[in-house]
Every structure is written in structure tokens, then in C-alpha cells.
Assembly symmetry: C2
């Protein structure tokens, strides 16, 4: 143990017991990311006991079988401590949910497992840990952040827009999150770096071998000036499945996700779906209808007119993300509220929605002293910004995220 404790001493602020950290590492190494059964096991009995049961074969059959096939004859604790020491030598930090710098937004992932009546997305649960390269605290770096994503096969137009968005967001102090892929992702990262800003690449492989290799110069700059992060341990290979699972982290870390270019069936649309499910802002940039690279953006806007906002530039992105999501990472200074920055009519309407229960649009209008027409015209945009929710009986304040997570139906 002493070796392992020394090996993680670079995570200076961590007061999390070494056994907890090692258990998280082991759980994150022997089970694929986002696993549902593992998530509830850890919720129920904590990471150490969860690992003990898993190693003992004392859990759901499928989970144990998968874990044991990966463990082989190795002791999971020993393997975890060895991995932590190896990461430390590579300059890779370990951050676990028990750490103060763990991004709070990731816990929202436990609320989106059920999608539709009978379909369950099983692999949407929060990471067990994150492996990090770069000189920033994760919570601070993701506090004011926007994900800018899109297709690998971009057009000149899409690359230009992604770089402009990356630059503009970073230039105004926002962190730009993306997936480090060729095309739109790389353009967004580069734009942010060009502005001297902070950018985060969330990888679907180990942070010691970022993929694709052709972006290696970019990854080095991101690791020096921003952050390279992954829930997969150092040494992990990228698999197709892992990109899709990784996408939930890109969506959950930021206040909103902007889709710049995507084909109809692009994986980037799955990140948009996660953003919508997480009630983050989902935004899409339109393009020429003659370009197949914009079809995915147009489809997002067409299929989800109430949930995806059309944006044409950085100002419009900031107008949306600047207003919501401040609860994702509490500001140290003073009582900043979600609804700061609303104009007076919006503010009246927001204030007129009761703190508990549901009010009809007519009741909200009467309470706010505005016309029903104005109320009906503006309430949906407050909902789009996440400040209100529309329910069958009318309008309500959104349920606190943790309550929503608890209340989410589990099948």
C-alpha cells in the first residue's frame, strides 16, 4: 500500500482513502464504462464492498462473469495499485467521485437510463473514475463549458464554424469540450487553443495513447494547456462501442452541446441525444441543405424543435448557456441564480410559477400581470433554457436534479 499511496501524492488535495480510490480504479478497469448493475451495486454498498463482491463472484451473474474474465487470476486490489503507480509515472492523475474536484454534472447521468417506454440504455451511468492529463482542476475547468462536436468528415464550412465557435467561446472565458476526433472536434479544440483558452478532450481510450494518432500534436498541446481525460485506464484501446459510451461524458460535463456538422447517422447525434436527455442545452448549427454534412444538424432541429436550438454563432450560444446551468458548479461568490439575466417580462413569468406544484399558463399570466398571449409566447423559451418545465397541467419549476435522479424509473 505504501507504494501506491506515494504514487498518488500528486493528487495533492485528495483526502479520499486509498482503498476507495483503488476500488474505483479496479471497478472502472474490469467493467465497461457506464454499467448499470455495477452502478447500483456501488450505490448500495460503496466501491470497496462492491469490488469485494465482484471479485468473490457474489454479484449478478453476467457482471461477475465479465469481470472475472478480465481479472483472470489477478487480485483486483493489486492490479489497481499497480495501475495507479503506472499512471503516476506517466503523469496521469486519478480523480474519483469522492474527490472535491469531481464534476458534479456527471451525477446527472444516473437519471437518464430509461429512454422510452420499454427501452433501457444500460450504459449511461456515471464513470467510476476519470484519468486526467493537464494542469487544471476538473470542476473548475468544466464549470463554464460548452461541448462543440460534429463529424469527422467535415466540410470546409463546418471546420470554419467549429474553429470560430472554439475561438469565440475560449476568448470569452468558456472551456471548449470535444472528443479529440478528426474533423469538427479537432477544429473546435484548435480554435480554443488559438484563443489561448482552455479546452478538454474526452477520449474513448487511455489518455496516454490518445486516438487518432494523427492528432498527436494537438493532444500534446491540449495536455499542456487544457485537459485530456478518459474514464478508461491508461493503456486502453479505442473501440467503436467506447466512443458511443464516451459521448455521455461530453454531454454531461458541459452546460450545452453544439452540433456543427453531422451526417444523418453520425455518432455525434448520440451526444446530442444525451444532452437532451440530461436537459443540457442542445444546439445545432444549420448549413446548406445541399450539404450532406449538415443533414444531421437539420434532422436534430426538425425532430426536436422544442429541445434543440438553432444557433448561428458564438453570441447565440452564449445567450443560451450564459443563463442556465449555474447550479452545475456553484459559484464561490454570492447568490447567483439560474434566472439572472432574464429580461423583465421573462423574470415576471418565472417568478409567477409556484415553487411547488404546477400552474396553468393562464394562472401564471394572471399572477405575473401579463397577457396570456405573452405568457404562451414566452413560457416555452423559459423551458428551453431549463428554467421551467412544461407538464400536463401547465408549468412548474424543474425538480432538483438529485431528486430527479432518485425518482427516475428503473427497470
Amino acid at each position: 500500500m505504501s507504494t501506491a499511496q506515494e504514487s498518488t501524492s500528486t493528487a495533492q488535495e485528495s483526502t479520499v482513502p486509498e482503498r476507495v480510490r483503488a476500488a474505483r480504479v479496479a471497478l472502472g478497469s474490469v467493467v465497461e464504462p457506464g454499467n448499470r448493475t455495477l452502478h447500483f451495486l456501488v450505490e448500495q454498498c460503496g466501491p470497496q464492498e462492491a469490488l469485494r463482491r465482484l471479485a468473490a463472484g457474489d454479484t449478478a451473474d453476467a457482471l461477475s462473469a465479465a469481470a472475472r474474465s478480465r481479472l483472470g487470476s489477478h487480485d483486483p486490489w493489486t492490479a489497481a495499485l499497480r495501475l495507479m503507480a503506472h499512471a503516476d509515472r506517466l503523469g496521469v492523475r486519478l480523480v474519483v467521485p469522492e474527490d472535491p474536484e469531481w464534476p458534479r454534472g456527471l451525477s446527472d447521468l444516473s437519471a437518464i437510463s430509461v429512454d422510452g417506454r420499454d427501452r433501457v440504455d444500460r450504459d449511461t451511468y456515471p464513470p467510476q473514475c476519470l484519468w486526467v492529463r493537464g494542469p487544471h482542476r476538473l470542476d473548475e475547468a468544466t464549470d463554464r463549458s460548452v461541448s462543440v462536436i460534429g463529424a469527422r468528415a467535415n466540410t470546409h464550412y463546418g471546420g470554419h464554424i467549429a474553429a470560430e465557435l472554439g475561438y469565440g467561446l475560449a476568448d470569452r472565458g468558456w472551456t471548449v469540450i470535444s472528443g479529440g476526433a478528426y474533423g469538427i472536434d479537432a477544429a473546435a479544440h484548435r480554435g480554443a487553443l488559438a484563443a489561448g483558452g482552455l479546452t478538454i478532450a474526452v477520449l474513448a481510450c487511455g489518455v496516454d495513447r490518445p486516438y487518432p494518432p494523427s492528432n498527436s500534436a494537438l493532444f500534446e498541446r491540449v495536455a499542456e494547456e487544457g485537459l485530456l481525460i478518459s474514464e478508461l485506464p491508461p493503456g486502453s484501446d479505442p473501440h467503436r462501442h467506447r466512443f458511443l459510451v464516451r459521448n455521455r461524458v461530453i454531454a454531461a460535463l458541459s452546460r450545452g452541446t453544439v452540433l456543427v456538422e453531422a451526417s444523418a447517422r453520425s455518432g455525434a447525434r448520440q451526444t446530442m441525444r444525451r444532452a437532451r436527455q440530461l436537459r443540457r442545452l442542445a444546439m445545432a448549427v444549420p448549413g446548406p441543405v445541399t450539404s450532406t454534412a449538415s443533414v444531421g444538424c437539420h434532422e436534430e432541429l426538425r425532430e426536436h424543435p422544442h429541445a434543440v436550438a438553432l444557433v448561428t454563432g458564438v453570441e447565440q450560444v452564449l445567450e443560451l448557456v450564459g443563463r442556465v446551468g449555474v447550479d452545475l458548479a456553484p459559484r464561490p461568490r454570492g447568490p447567483v441564480q439560474d434566472h439572472d439575466g432574464l429580461d423583465s417580462l421573462d423574470q415576471q413569468l418565472f417568478d409567477a410559477v409556484p415553487l411547488r406544484g404546477v400552474a396553468s399558463a393562464a394562472a401564471v399570466a394572471a399572477q405575473a400581470g401579463v397577457s396570456l398571449r405573452d405568457a404562451l409566447g414566452r413560457l416555452p423559451s423559459l423551458a428551453l433554457r431549463g428554467l421551467l418545465t412544461e407538464q400536463s397541467g401547465g408549468w412548474a419549476r424543474p425538480t432538483a436534479r438529485r431528486a430527479a435522479a432518485r425518482a427516475a424509473p428503473i427497470r
Copy 2:
């Protein structure tokens, strides 16, 4: 009178009394289009008595003064009959609201006068008559029609899209309505003509001197194969004001309006506003966010996400307009219903909304036997298609248009 009666004999089917037709012509000639006071005067006492009172100075001061300054010392009846004879010599037909071929959709215009709490659009009332060149009945030509509009200063991209839409709509038997202007309008008309289809140019001047003159070859083809129409009598000049007032006719005649390209402050956006007010389908084609010619389209989509649909091609336009608005012109054959063509889940939801009153989404879901999630996901799209309306208490069938017109508050 006998000369005048002979002169209008080309309007073969008209059984409308000559005095009524002449009164409509006089009213449409001495008062600017869409006038509110005149509309209610005619509603109250009919066109003949309205003209008598107007000529006698026996009406609201402003209206009489304006009319008398135009009439001068002329007798309005004589002037009208002379105008009708003149039009007949030019090959221009007269169609009045009392004629069977009068497009029923125009009467919806009397329902949109009030816009917002205290603002009144005074000039949105239906035309007194229409002057027509071309070999088609107005009601039949506009039955299945789509307006395709946009900026005069189009880009190559916009011109291409407008021509493609015009061609595709006409090729599938739909009439293409536009304003005959340079740019997007002309491209849409030309596309329809290229498909051998029917196109209608709604002018803001007399149909004998279509504006702009540089489109004269186009206008001649439209008059031969389609229709040139105007509510302004032959000889009228185009004025800036008249283009804006004319736009309400473009919006009202068709089932939906597609905005192809427009600057932020383009007059074409006013046509979109009219389409929204009339509960016609309002559609916009996106374009590169780097193009100022697409800013108006993007703003429409951003400002009215619930009322303006993003479309990228003719199939998407047809998917929307093919489903709604069949009540604008009743089909002779059988009971075609608004909601034909819905998939089974949509149909269940539609059927579950009561014919009278309002039902909550939960009640609709229960009645339809679908999940609340599915109901909440699909009801808004039924509303977007005009099949349902969302109200403070939930969801309802749309009020019949005539009832809406009667119930519209008048200030």
C-alpha cells in the same frame, strides 16, 4: 349598364349581380387594400350600400375623406363600370367574393387583424375583389398550393433552392404561389413553369403592368400558363406600402409558405408572419450561417421554433402541407379528413383529443392507450401540423376557422 354587362360576359359562370360587382370594384379602387373600416362597413350593409354611404360621405370621416379625394367629382358607379370595360378589353377578369371561384382561404384574413395586446394591424382584411389574367379558376388553382418566397437579392444557393422547390412542387401537381419579384420569387415561378406546372404571381400593382418590368417575359408566361392576380385595378402602380399589404394575400391563398432566403429585415418575413397568424404552415429553408441572405430564415426558426418548420427540400414541404389545410377547398370526392396520413400512434393521439373542450396530455395519453412520454413527444408535432392546439389546460381540436374569425377580438 348594358355595355358593362356585355363587357364582363367573359366571366362566364358569374351570376353575381352587376351592381354588386361594380360596387366591389369601386370599393377596391377608392380605398387602399385591406382597410379595416371598409371591411366592417361591407360586412354590415353589403357592398352596394357601403359604396353609397362612402360616396355620400355618410361613413367614418377618415375613410370618406380618403375615398372622396380619390373619387374627385367622378361618380363611383360610372368609374367602376368604365374600369370593368377597360379590364375586359385587356383580357383581365374580375373575381369578387360573391363568385363561386373566390378562394375561401382569403376570408381567414379577417381573423388576423389583432396582433398582440395593443397593436392592431389595420390593413389585413380580405380584398374587395381580384383582377386576374390567366386560364384557370382561382379556387381550383389555389386548392393545392404552396407559396415560395424570399429576397430579391438572392445568392446562387437560394436561387437554386427556390427553383428546385418550384419544380418539385409543380411536378407533383401543386401550384406555386409567389410575388413575381426579382430573385427568389422569380426562381420559384420559373421552376414551376419548367415542370410544366401551374404558378401564380400575386402582384402589388395592376396585372396589366406587372412589376418589375425586367421580369416581363416571365409574367407573360405566367399569364399564359398560370395566373397573374392583383387586388389593385389595372393601371395601378406598385408602391412600397402595397407590397407589404399584398403579402397577406400570398400567405392566405396557399396552405403554407416557404421562406427560401431573406435578410434579417426582408419584407418576405412579413409574409411569414401573416402565414403564422393565419395558422398556415410557415416553413423556412436554412442556409450557411456565414450567408447574410439566410439570416432571415434562421431568425424565423429561432424566434418561432413552435410555429416555423425547418425544411430542406420538397419532400419535407409536401409532408407538411399534404396533411393539413384540406378544409381550405373542399375536395369533391369523399370525406378526406385533415388527419389522413398520420401514423397509427399519431392517429390514436389525435382521436383521443375530445371534439370539444381541453384535455390534459395525461388524459389524452390514457385515452389513447399510449405512454405519457410518447404523448408529450408527439402532441407538439400534431399541433405544428395544425391538427391540434395547445392551450393552458392541455390539448384541444382547433376551432373551426370561421368561428375563430367571428371570435377574434376587434378593437
